[in-house]
C-alpha cells in the first residue's frame, strides 16, 4: 500500500471534514457558542428590541387649570404613548425636568388656554421634547400633533354646524396592513437578529479556526501533505454549514413558539438561502484569516467585517435612509440579501420566483469570496 501520487479529492475532503467535526464537537465551549448562545441571544434580543414607542414619561404644565385643559391632557395621555409623571408649575421647571432625565416630554398649556379656545382666537400648546432618541421623539411628537389636529378639526366642524353651515367632506385614509397587521416588532426583527448572529458566529469561527492552525503549526504539517488548498478550505467550512443550518432551524422553532413568527413559505428555500449565506460568511472568515498572522489579528479582522456588515445591512436602519453614496455598498452585503430571503419566506410566503435574485446574489458573493480566499491562501505559501 503506497500512497497514490494524486490522492482522491473525496478522501481528502472526508478526512478534513471528519477532523473538523471531531475538533468542534469535542470543544464544549465552542459548541455552546455556536448553538446555545445564538439561541439565548435571539430570545433576549427578541424581547428587548421593540421599536414600538409607548409610556413616554411626560410632565404637564397647566397654569390655566380649566376644564378644557384638563380634559385635553387626560385624553392625550389616555392613548398610552405618553405617560404622565406629574405636574410642574412652569415651562422652565418642566424643561429642567427633561434636562435631569425625569421626563422625555412636557406638555405646556397657556395661562388663558380655555379663554383663548372659547373666544375663537386660537390656542397654543407648547410641547418640549427630548431629542436624544430621534425615533422616540418623532413618534411622541406625531402622537401630540395628531391629537391636536384631530381636536382642531372637530372644533371647527362643531363651530360650522352651530352656525348652520355644512362642514366640508372629510378625507380619511384607511390603511390595511398586510403580513404583519398588528405591526409587531418581533416578526420583523427576529429573522434579522438570526441573520446577524449567524454572521458573527460563523465569520469568527472560520477566521479564528484557520489562524489558530497557523499559530499552532498544524497548518504547516497539513501543507506538506499533497492536499489541495480549495479542498482544505471547503472541508473546514462544511461542518459549520451543517451547524449553521441546525442553528437556523432552532431559531425558527423558538421564534415561532415565543414570538409567533409565521412560517408562510418553504423551509427548503430558506435552508437553501442559509447555505448560500453561510458560504459568504464562512468564506469571509477564511479570507480574513488568510490576511492575518495570528488569532488576535483574525479576531480584529472579524470585527472590522461583521460590525459594518451588520450596521449597513438594513437590519438596524432602513437602507433607504442611508446617504446615496453608501447605499450601493449594501448591495455587496450578504446580510442584506439573507435578511430579505428570511423575511420573504417567513413573513410573506415568498417563493423561488420572488427570491431568485437574492439567492443568485448570495451565490455570486459566496463564490467570489471563496475564490479570493483560496487565491490568497495559495499565494501565502509561495
Amino acid at each position: 500500500m503506497t500512497a497514490p501520487v494524486r490522492p482522491s479529492a473525496r478522501v481528502q475532503l472526508a478526512a478534513v471534514f471528519r477532523k473538523e467535526v471531531q475538533q468542534t464537537v469535542r470543544d464544549r465551549r465552542i459548541m455552546f457558542m455556536l448553538v446555545v448562545a445564538p439561541l439565548i441571544q435571539t430570545v433576549v434580543f427578541g424581547f428587548a428590541v421593540d421599536f414600538e414607542v409607548d409610556r413616554v414619561p411626560t410632565v404637564v404644565v397647566d397654569p390655566d387649570r380649566s376644564a378644557t385643559s384638563r380634559e385635553d391632557a387626560r385624553r392625550l395621555l389616555a392613548d398610552g404613548t405618553l405617560l404622565s409623571t406629574g405636574e410642574e408649575i412652569s415651562a422652565e421647571a418642566a424643561s429642567a425636568g427633561i434636562d435631569a432625565g425625569r421626563a422625555s416630554a412636557a406638555l405646556v398649556f397657556e395661562r388663558r388656554a380655555e379663554a383663548d379656545r372659547l373666544s375663537g382666537r386660537g390656542q397654543e400648546v407648547q410641547v418640549l421634547l427630548d431629542g436624544t432618541d430621534p425615533n422616540r421623539t418623532t413618534v411622541t411628537s406625531g402622537a401630540v400633533s395628531r391629537f391636536f389636529s384631530e381636536l382642531g378639526e372637530r372644533l371647527a366642524r362643531e363651530r360650522l354646524e352651530a352656525s348652520g353651515q355644512t362642514p366640508p367632506a372629510q378625507l380619511r385614509p384607511i390603511p390595511r396592513v398586510a403580513f404583519n397587521p398588528g405591526l409587531a416588532t418581533a416578526p420583523y426583527m427576529v429573522p434579522g437578529i438570526a441573520a446577524m448572529l449567524l454572521v458573527i458566529v460563523t465569520t469568527f469561527t472560520s477566521a479564528m479556526g484557520l489562524a489558530r492552525e497557523r499559530e499552532m503549526g498544524t497548518l504547516e504539517q497539513v501543507l506538506v501533505t499533497p492536499i489541495r488548498p480549495v479542498l482544505l478550505l471547503v472541508g473546514k467550512m462544511a461542518p459549520f454549514v451543517v451547524i449553521g443550518l441546525l442553528v437556523v432551524a432552532l431559531l425558527i422553532g423558538v421564534g415561532t413558539w415565543l414570538f409567533a413568527i409565521p412560517i408562510r413559505g418553504s423551509l427548503g428555500l430558506l435552508f437553501l438561502g442559509t447555505v448560500l449565506y453561510l458560504l459568504t460568511t464562512l468564506g469571509a472568515g477564511l479570507l480574513i484569516s488568510t490576511v492575518s498572522a495570528n488569532q488576535q489579528q483574525a479576531f480584529l479582522g472579524g470585527f472590522l467585517f461583521t460590525i459594518p456588515a451588520v450596521l449597513l445591512s438594513g437590519l438596524m436602519t432602513p437602507i433607504l435612509a442611508m446617504p446615496g453614496w453608501l447605499r450601493p455598498l449594501t448591495l455587496l452585503n450578504p446580510i442584506r440579501w439573507y435578511a430579505e430571503i428570511m423575511r420573504g419566506v417567513l413573513l410573506r410566503g415568498a417563493g423561488l420566483a420572488d427570491l431568485w435574485l437574492q439567492l443568485a446574489v448570495l451565490l455570486v458573493i459566496g463564490v467570489a469570496i471563496m475564490a479570493a480566499a483560496t487565491l490568497r491562501f495559495r499565494r501565502r505559501l509561495g
Binding site: 500500500m1 503506497t2 500512497a3 497514490p4 501520487v5 494524486r6 490522492p7 482522491s8 478522501v11 481528502q12 472526508a14 478526512a15 478534513v16 471528519r18 477532523k19 471531531q22 475538533q23 469535542r26 470543544d27 499552532m216 503549526g217 498544524t218 504547516e220 504539517q221 497539513v222 501543507l223 506538506v224 501533505t225 499533497p226 492536499i227 505559501l381 509561495g382
Partner: protein, 320 residues
C-alpha cells in the same frame, strides 16, 4: 515524473538559494543524498537548516537554484514531491485536542489513504513506535517522547521515500532520544532516506554523512570520521595515572602541545602528531613526577569539528 534510476540520488540540491528580502537564508547550497542514507544537517540556530528543508519539501519556493526530491523538481511539481515525502517539523504539529488515532486518520486521509487499509497501517505504526493501546488518548496528554514518535508515525503513514526530520528530538529526554534514533535507523535500514537536522552532536554520530551549515552556506560535507580527519588534524590524547595534576605544568608550552585540560582524574590534551606522540607525552609526565602513566589516543568528537569549522568561518579563512 520519471522514477529515479536505482543508485541515483534521492535528493539533489544544485545551487539552492533562498533570500528573504536582503537576507540570504540559504546561499547556493549543493549536495546529494543517496537512497536509504541517514543524512545529518548540522548548524547553529538560524544557519539555514529549516529553510533548506522547507524548500526541499515544497513549502517554500527557492529564490534560485534547483532541487529534485524522489525524482521530482521541487519548484515545478511540489505536489508530487509532497506525496513522496514525510515531514516532521521542529515544533510538534499534530492536533493536540484530537485522540492519537484521529490524528493518524486525518493525515492518512490527506495523503489519500482510507478505509481499512489506513486503519491497519495506523495500527502497525502505533505498534512500531511503542504507542500501541494509546489510540484513544488525547494527543496533548502524551509526554514529549511519545509525541515525537507519534509525529514520526504521522509522517511515514504513506510510506514516503524520504522523511525530513527537523530537530526531531529537541526537548526530549535522553532515553526517549535513544528510542527515537532506534526508529530512525530502523527506517533507514528499510530503505527510507532520512534527512535529519539536529544540534545534539552525539546524535549526529549516527548519521552516515553530515552537512555543516554556517550562515546559510554548506561549509563541510562528509562522514563523521572524514570530518574529524579533515577538521581536527591534532591528535587527541588522554593521560591517566598518579600525580598528574602536579606534572601537567611540565607539558604547557612544550613543542607540539596544542592544549592541556584536566578531564576527570586525568588529562585531555591535543598534540601535533608530527612533533609529539603518546610515548613522548608519557616521558614528559613521568619526568615531571607522575607515576603509572598511561597515555591513549582518543577519537575527536563532532563537537571539536563543529568548533573548528565555526572558528575558521568566523576568521574568514577559505575552506578547502
Amino acid at each position: 515524473m520519471s522514477a529515479p534510476a536505482p543508485g541515483a540520488p534521492v535528493i539533489e540540491a544544485r545551487q539552492l538559494t533562498r533570500r528573504f528580502g536582503s537576507f540570504t537564508a540559504v546561499d547556493a547550497v549543493s549536495f546529494e543524498v543517496e537512497r536509504g542514507e541517514i543524512f545529518g544537517y548540522l548548524g547553529a540556530n538560524g544557519a539555514g537548516k529549516s529553510t533548506t528543508i522547507r524548500m526541499l519539501n515544497g513549502l517554500l519556493a527557492p529564490t534560485s537554484g534547483t532541487a529534485r526530491v524522489a525524482g521530482h523538481d521541487v519548484a515545478a511539481d511540489p505536489d508530487s514531491v509532497k506525496a513522496s515525502i514525510g515531514y516532521m517539523s521542529q515544533k510538534f504539529s499534530l492536533y493536540l485536542d484530537l485522540p492519537v488515532m484521529e490524528n493518524l486518520l486525518f493525515f492518512g486521509g490527506a495523503y489519500g489513504l482510507f478505509g481499512k487499509a489506513l486503519r491497519v497501517r495506523a495500527g502497525e505504526l502505533l505498534e512500531l513506535t511503542g504507542l500501541a493501546g494509546q489510540d484513544a488518548a488525547i494527543t496533548g496528554s502524551l509526554p514529549g517522547g511519545m509525541r515525537q514518535r507519534l509525529a514520526l508515525a504521522g509522517a511515514i503513514l504513506h510510506r514516503p521515500e524520504v522523511v525530513f526530520l527537523d530537530e526531531p528530538t529537541a526537548g526530549v529526554d535522553p532515553v526517549a532520544r535513544r528510542a527515537f534514533w532506534r526508529l530512525i535507523r530502523q527506517l533507514s535500514s528499510g530503505g527510507t532516506t532520512v534527512f535529519v537536522t539536529t544540534h545534539y552532536l552525539d546524535e549526529a554520530e549516527y548519521c552516515r554523512r553530515i552537512g555543516l551549515m554556517v550562515d546559510g552556506r554548506l561549509v563541510a560535507l562528509d562522514s563523521p570520521a572524514g570530518l574529524k580527519r579533515t577538521w581536527v588534524p591534532d591528535r587527541v590524547l588522554v593521560a591517566r595515572g598518579q600525580g598528574l595534576a602536579g606534572a601537567a605544568a611540565a607539558l604547557a608550552g612544550r613543542d607540539g602541545v596544542r592544549s592541556v585540560q584536566p578531564f576527570g582524574a586525568g588529562l585531555h590534551l591535543r598534540v601535533d602528531p608530527a612533533r609529539l606522540d603518546e610515548a613522548g607525552v608519557g616521558r614528559i609526565l613521568s619526568a615531571a613526577g607522575a607515576r603509572e602513566v598511561v597515555v591513549d589516543r582518543a577519537e575527536p568528537s563532532l563537537e571539536d569539528v563543529f568548533l573548528a569549522v565555526v572558528g575558521r568561518e568566523a576568521r574568514g579563512e577559505a575552506v578547502t
